[in-house]
Symmetry: C2
Subunit: 143 residues, 2 copies
DNA sequence: ATGCAAATGCAAATCGTTTGCAACTGGAAA
DNA sequence: TTTCCAGTTGCAAACGATTTGCATTTGCAT
């Protein structure tokens, strides 16, 4: 089964429906996103995109990521001390654990934490618009 | 009681003990920090410092904040979409709620959340080095 | 007082990201 | 299927936050 090709077609369809033009560079980026399992930054996306469309420019990568973010197709994360990194928006909410040594990102979700957030915000008299919850750590050494 | 003057003297003493030279610009910045109740960024610190020492430069502000961070006297926070903001390290650990409309920072602490973090990291096989937990919201409108 | 490593101000460099602009291109309409 | 033009592109220059090189001062131990 070609899951990635399906994803790509769905991306294009949803965007077309919103009146977004599917251009050559955009198709290249959508293709990359539909096969990405990690959290690449703009430069990495640019590198991967060059392999598909050698005429693409870094500014177009940035412009396209902005567009996709606005359309809700991707999420942008600004982890500590590095460039923004992106991931497909599909899937339910999760937070991130960043491996300090490798830069790897592990996703996790805790309903308890979500509840606590709401509780805290409510107690302080605020409505949460969004939050950032990131753990930075290293793989526990076996003892 | 002159709490701020005392804080200033303590800052200087601790730094001297670590072999740090107390220069004019550094004294100005320490003075500002000891009276700051908010979370100013470098430019704001620079502005306030100019009032005390009109010859101070922005690079010295940055260099001093780096120094103070290394010495554990202050903490640096990179809230979403803005310059780094600083606060005195004194006091126990807390997280932040950022008022989206005003930029105000409210501090809070939840032992439950700290526990949950450790639990999650442990389950994923990681040791937490540090974390970032920020709520972004706006004041709840009275209904 | 003296000496010198450490700290400073300035300007230029850096990094990630955005923008102005002239040239190009989807894709709707004819 | 060709025409058309607003939307999109690549490029280079601009950007904001922060860092750095360097020649000049300045703490502060002697």
């Amino acid at each position: 089964m070609d899951n990635e090709a399906r994803k790509l077609r769905e991306y294009e369809q949803r965007l077309r429906d919103e009146g977004v033009r599917i251009t050559r560079p955009r198709r290249a980026i959508l293709q990359i996103l539909s096969q990405a399992a990690d959290h690449p930054d703009a430069m990495e996306l640019f590198r991967r995109a060059l392999a598909i469309d050698p005429t693409i420019s870094l500014s177009t990568v940035y412009r396209t990521m902005k567009l996709l973010e606005d359309k809700g197709e991707i999420q942008r994360h600004a982890f500590a001390g590095g460039p923004a990194r992106f991931e497909q928006a599909a899937g339910e909410h999760h937070d991130h654990l960043i491996d300090i040594d490798t830069g790897d990102v592990i996703e996790f979700h805790s309903e308890r934490i979500e509840q606590l957030q709401d509780e805290i915000a409510h107690r302080l008299g605020y409505d949460i618009v969004h939050h950032r919850f990131e753990l930075y750590g290293c793989r526990r050494k076996r003892k």
